[in-house]
Symmetry: C2
Subunit: 386 residues, 2 copies
């Protein structure tokens, strides 16, 4: 197979050539002055993308490690957490809580829908004893392609003292997220998403309210001890050896992101979402999620004609070198997912839809060649102001 | 500063150009067929280096994450562990145990010396109730440059049922280690050492005895759940997104290692150790560790003339672009360390000693220019059979 793939996953996302080159720099001492400069620049850049003045820590782990850090640093065994779940990653938060002895108050919504902020408000209102110590929720639910209204969920919290902990791993920079303005106490993100680097780093922001909690939670974490990470960062280091080459890649990616500008980045992702949805509609396929809650990072499409996701994705990959994602969890056999996250261009989407049309035809499903691509072109044409 | 440094650390170690190029390959789907091939090849390669037929798992974390996985998967809260410590990393094992509620029976030896297998035997003999569930010990103690006799420690265990858990992060492939032959239940290693890739991956082997224990330990781990990793590996995946680019680098590095051959790799490290020690002696400097226990990965040298390690290392770095390590823990101000691990060649050591002689001269310490280098040359000359 040719090296050049059209990789349309909700992560890992394609890595820009200049980021690949940056990661190819020679090794440096992670206890030396060059690393100190590296981590300082990264930390500032990530804060800009987070829109926060709070602390941001970079962990050597993939996103799930960041989720675990959020649970073990801010919730003690026996504490109660309100876990708002709209898909597989919401359920992952529940599993992590249970593993570490945190009691889960589940607030589940059907997969393919967003969380209702009013239902969150109700749960918190009912908690007159203040037993709920944290609200755990996804910004973008990768498994369904649904974006939660985090601003409204934060407002729904009212005066309840629970920390608001947001998994923004696949959503940050693709969809709007304002850490400080929206009063988000802890926000988790991951490298292999809109940050455009290979997997292996998780970022986590912690505000003063959250630090005050972490200081009182009995220390049941070591590798993911955020207080230790904060202390090391003050001297330009990490407690344990960090993934230096990935951090070099992150520095380069952040330079690209800051040059493009955060509003441009998010606008680009909303454009991709609208292009993809226009194409899916033109091909007569069905969405899992409504337009009103649709993710700018990934689009879930119901598999047509009784086929399994693999029937489409395997042909896309083997015949056309276009890589799409299948379903996750209980949607495993129901949907395929088109990622449009990170280092993706409109031409990648044109290519993917042209291939998708041919695959549908091969599966003897009704399709007008070019109809999907034309729909994408129209959206781009209209948005680019002619 | 020029990009090209002589990096002589006990990790991260220099990364070979072909490994850097391999890591620069485009992103792939970690749930796809290419990843399945990648993880299969890596797993087999790592097993060969470990000399084991047991399971080997690759974790997205640095070595400390592997150490934490060893504690949380094989020891339950309330269990007792015999922690054999000869330096900073032995002490790290104690901290991890305490964090996760494991009772520590400490067996400490002075920093700069090796563990006495007879003392291990005595501790185990005294444990007639079988309270000790695991022995935790370093293969190579990076902070002091001392190699433990793991084979003798394994033999000292006799019929005691405790698992033997070995941190071979900096020692594996530099010094001999035979996982199966020596009956080692769990062995941890790290990417940025003799495996020659950037930090961000930890490897861990688990034999049948250890799996039987893990199945009974209450599940107090999520990101580092080794049973979940084992289950995912059976279908060519990992439970959570892995550091794919580092794994591509590891594949390339393993190809280099298998081509060189394990005995040649370890012999090369013993040669470097002997060259470095000859040079240090010729310069009239003092070792922390005796020849009999000296590490083939890193050599600790007492800082001469009342200077601090930084006085030497800063000049080495700024004037000559040679990067050495300082001391760790209680040896912070006492020693500097010359790493000779991984992708290092004799010429790197010549260059470092020539620079070191000049730095000693600059510090007005007694030194005969060329004396250190000549000593290295003599060892190489004798070993290469003339």
């Amino acid at each position: 197979m040719w090296e050049k793939q059209v990789l349309l996953l909700p992560g890992p996302t394609p890595v820009p050539p200049r980021v690949l080159r940056a990661m190819g720099a020679p090794a440096i001492n992670h206890r030396g002055p060059e690393f100190k400069e590296l981590i300082a620049e990264i930390t500032e850049g990530v804060k800009t993308i987070y829109r926060t003045a709070s602390d941001v820590l970079v962990l050597t782990a993939s996103g799930t490690g960041g989720m675990e850090a959020a649970v073990t640093n801010f919730l003690a065994p026996g504490d109660k957490a309100l876990v708002v779940s709209i898909g597989a990653f919401g359920d992952r938060f529940k599993k992590i809580c249970k593993t570490y002895g945190v009691e889960v108050e589940a607030l589940d919504f059907p997969w393919g829908t967003a969380a209702d902020p009013a239902a969150v408000a109700e749960k918190l209102k009912a908690d007159t004893a203040g037993a709920i110590k944290a609200i755990l929720v996804q910004h973008n639910e990768t498994s369904t392609g649904v974006l939660n209204d985090i601003k409204a969920i934060s407002e729904a919290r009212g005066n309840h003292p629970a920390l608001l902990i947001v998994d923004a791993i696949s959503g940050l920079a693709a969809a709007e997220l304002q850490t400080d303005e929206w009063n988000l106490d802890v926000v988790i993100s991951g490298a292999q998403k809109a940050f455009m680097i290979p997997p292996g780093l998780a970022m986590i922001s912690v505000n003063q309210r959250a630090w005050a909690v972490a200081e009182k939670v009995p220390n049941k974490r070591f590798y993911f001890d955020l207080l230790a990470a904060k202390e090391s960062l003050a001297s330009g280091q990490t407690p344990y050896t960090p993934a230096v080459s990935l951090m070099m890649g992150l520095r380069e990616a952040l330079r690209m992101m800051l040059a493009e500008g955060l509003p441009n980045i998010t606008n680009r992702h909303y454009l991709y979402r609208d292009m993809v949805r226009a194409g899916v509609k033109a091909l007569g396929l069905q969405f899992l999620a409504d337009d009103s809650v649709a993710s700018p990072a990934v689009t879930s499409v119901k598999t047509p004609g009784g086929y399994k996701p693999g029937d489409i994705n395997k042909r896309m990959r083997e015949k056309y070198n276009v890589v799409l994602a299948g379903g996750q969890g209980k949607l495993k056999d129901e949907i395929f997912r088109i990622g449009h996250l990170g280092f993706v261009q409109p031409v990648d989407l044109f290519a993917a839809f042209a291939a998708l049309e041919l695959v549908l035809r091969e599966l003897e499903l009704p399709v007008t060649p070019g109809a999907g691509v034309a729909a994408l072109q129209r959206v781009l044409w209209e948005r680019s102001g002619r």
